[in-house]
Symmetry: C2
Subunit: 264 residues, 2 copies
């Protein structure tokens, strides 16, 4: 059986459990991070620890687990189980007796065809509560993704009351038009770790970033659309709600993806 | 140690736990009910089982646990621990391997002074996702209540984008004006078990129910405001954001509360 971390201690994975009687478990008062481990190296660890703290701050969650404890626990877990490649998950639950876990699964990757042929997305109308915090309140994302998958799509994009397409259920979202990349301002979305690298890579490749999100009605006008996430890198979108979209800038998306991955 | 139910089996309370590696735990894809047990009798059990099913339906959660299994499990738990008075909690987590728990705590009651002197409430601007489903996605309610308590208030009322005061974080909400009681339409709020009884009691006492919610700007115009919940019964509001509100109809609120409790 795999190992896990509970409150800084190495335990068996089946001991990484939440008491249903604990109030903060009942209220989903918790934050998390998903990280890539490649060749036993934790990708962008500092950025993930920083965002974890930002998520805590956004929901006023205080806990005693230092960055050093979290990092050393993660490294102890990697060493104990001899982890080479994996997706790790850090979870912190707030309250009077805060809880801290690290667990891991096989490295989440996607087939090469997703990158060469693009993926389908659907639109889901709904707004996240406190979009900048990565919390366990994921019911809307769960349902949106379930609906997308039932239609054969890979991801659902969340559309706000103004019709703005802000982000995916587990990804950030972008539209390319000429030499410009359009995406939602940071304050309306989860500030993806990969999003930061993707935007930096895009600028390095000569694109200008415009912090205005695409809308549900103008998606077909972009030269190309794409997603980003820790697991995806940068992934082109082939269709929205079953309707094909333009693929004029897929070469650029592939270049952004390659450059972003190089920085890991 | 107390006992609990896990998937229909009696277990020790410390075995009522959720694996952090289970996807539906990570996404808070779960529904719950809180029930009163008085003199070993489960109050409004059928109504709670019905609402549990409605919550499941609202979030497309299917599970194999029948009403009969849930009811017989609850009764087995009451018998095992000799429970006379308690607040019980049923939790169902969806996914490929659905989970079902029943746990309990001391009966949640409030001091008599809350009824004679009323309670303070604060206003919190935010809208629930799928308001008719009683799910574990309670972060907004948690933060709203935390803010209320930090200001010395007992409950936070959720106000929507139109300024309508729809419900509390763990209660329904009403304004009395003359012989009319104003409250949000069922589709915008959690349909409280006690709300049904309270509205029935109010009608029996000669009130007309108007399904229009009070608004943040007209609360001071009502003759009285009150809350209801399984644990509270009907509870008068003394102040909103620190400002006293009228108490002209508190006798009526106390009568509604007494009549509602009589039906248990």
């Amino acid at each position: 059986m795999r190992s896990a971390i509970r409150n800084g201690e190495l335990v068996r994975e089946d001991q990484a459990v939440l008491p249903v009687t604990y109030r903060e478990v009942q209220y989903s008062y918790s934050v998390y991070e998903a990280l890539r481990i490649t060749d036993s190296h934790v990708v962008h660890l500092d950025d993930h620890l920083k965002r974890l703290k930002e998520s805590c701050r956004a929901i006023l969650l205080s806990h005693p687990f230092s960055d050093d404890l979290i990092a050393s626990s993660l490294h102890a877990l990697i060493e104990k189980d001899g982890i080479a490649n994996a997706t790790a998950r850090i979870l912190i639950v707030g309250g009077k007796s805060p809880l801290f876990f690290i667990t891991y699964t096989d490295l989440l990757t996607y087939p090469e065809s997703y990158y060469s042929e693009g993926v389908g997305v659907t639109l889901y109308y709904g707004e996240r509560f406190l979009p900048q915090a990565k919390t366990s309140n994921l019911l809307m994302q769960y349902l949106a993704l379930k609906e997308a998958e039932s239609k054969g799509a890979f991801e659902a994009l969340l559309v706000d009351r103004k019709g703005q397409v802000l982000e995916g259920t587990r990804s950030n979202f972008y539209g390319i038009s000429g030499t410009r990349i359009y995406t939602a301002p940071d304050e309306f979305v989860l500030s993806g770790i990969t999003r930061i690298s993707v935007l930096k890579a895009a600028e390095e490749l000569g694109f200008e970033i415009v912090y205005t999100p695409p809308t549900a009605t103008n998606l077909h006008m972009f030269d190309s659309l794409f997603l980003s996430s820790t697991s995806m890198g940068a992934l082109p979108v082939a269709s929205v709600n079953g309707n094909p979209v333009k693929k004029d800038k897929w070469d650029a998306i592939h270049s952004i993806c390659a450059l972003e991955r190089k920085w890991e």
